[in-house]
Symmetry: C2
Subunit: 223 residues, 2 copies
Amino acid sequence: MYVTLSSAFTPAIAAPVGIPNPAPAQRRTLSVGAHLFREGDIANNIYEITSGVFRLSRVLDDGRRQVIAFGLPGDIIGFPNGTVHHSDCEAIQAGAVISHRRHTLDTLKGDDATHQRLLHAALREISAMQDHLMMLGRKSAMEKVASFLVTLSDRIGTCRDELTRCALPMSRADIADFLGLTIETVSRTLTRLRKAGVIAFDRAQTVLIKDKDALLSAAQARV
Amino acid sequence: MYVTLSSAFTPAIAAPVGIPNPAPAQRRTLSVGAHLFREGDIANNIYEITSGVFRLSRVLDDGRRQVIAFGLPGDIIGFPNGTVHHSDCEAIQAGAVISHRRHTLDTLKGDDATHQRLLHAALREISAMQDHLMMLGRKSAMEKVASFLVTLSDRIGTCRDELTRCALPMSRADIADFLGLTIETVSRTLTRLRKAGVIAFDRAQTVLIKDKDALLSAAQARV
DNA sequence: CGGGGCCTTGAGAGTGATCAAGTATCGTGG
DNA sequence: CCACGATACTTGATCACTCTCAAGGCCCCG
């Protein structure tokens, strides 16, 4: 990983200048499978991920699931709309978050710097979701999987000897639900990339990108 | 896809306290086909739609298009991420917008009430896009089309005599690109709903919803 | 060593895409 | 006001990508 960010993200507590009552930011740790919040929970906080990997998802009545986003260190997750959350957020790799009181973003009384940081994270989120919409609506299975690998390896891949090594912290089912595919199609597509010599595997949870150019062209589109 | 640059986001830290310069909001009118902005344009403004209908979309090199959103009166469109827009926005029905200077949202020097309004619009946008992701990733053609009609008629439909009349200000191609389908599939699906007695048409641009319950169940799931 | 997830692979089916006409609808100019 | 052409929409036939169902293999952990 672009080992990361705990440093780049100085918690809000550190910066009270003239403000008498800075919203206290609390730290919280979660083990694998623990929920940061569930659909229907009151949305009191916004979370800044300091470590671990989180999965934000929505589920239909009949069980169909869409993964909205994967939260990595540095990401901010849980933007409120209305009083309750409309999605589930679960740790898929043990980690920790800093909880910011919702009104830090919602109102203007509080820590301005944190307000700004949360706001800009929301704008980045909108932009990322636009990419995601394009991917879900208009890309083929191969393009989806390749795009996913490109994006993930840009975030958490490590380059060494012409080879980018990238952990896949999420299961095939999670990837499938993120890309709007089935597990089988994800698996078959990864196999296709492997047999074409574009990628290789290390125990199914780690992908080695052998030919970044080929992967980029499989991802199509302006990257 | 593009990379989102957090570096592009360093907000103006040196905030003058006096606020001598409240941002002027300007009005602008657009006829059909006129662009509010295009991909690559400098993102100086955020727009509040007062009339007309706008289409926000992204296009891949090979011409594949994804409609991100339709902007109706009351909607706010053009949230910036980075210095330039990453999507196109075009009037598909003549209308007008109020332009808000970007820094009204970006910074905290300016009109607080407007800042709040834009911010909350951004949060609503995130929530709406989550619905859209679920629709694109996990719904069938019939569910997509039915969901679309339900959502649109909730926004701009008028109820009369057990019948909801709803204009379709956008073309079939726009609907298709919004739902991640082809024109033909949209058309066939609408025909199927019509033959089932769920909807009827008035010149292809106006749909009459005859059986809202049936439409809702075709849309499946809570939308 | 055995059990249970998770992942991969295979065969067949189905939904939606593609290719191709055919039909309305709308705007324009005679 | 009507004729014409252009554009948009509908319908049909066929194809292909992805899903579904099913089985087998791998790996982790007790």
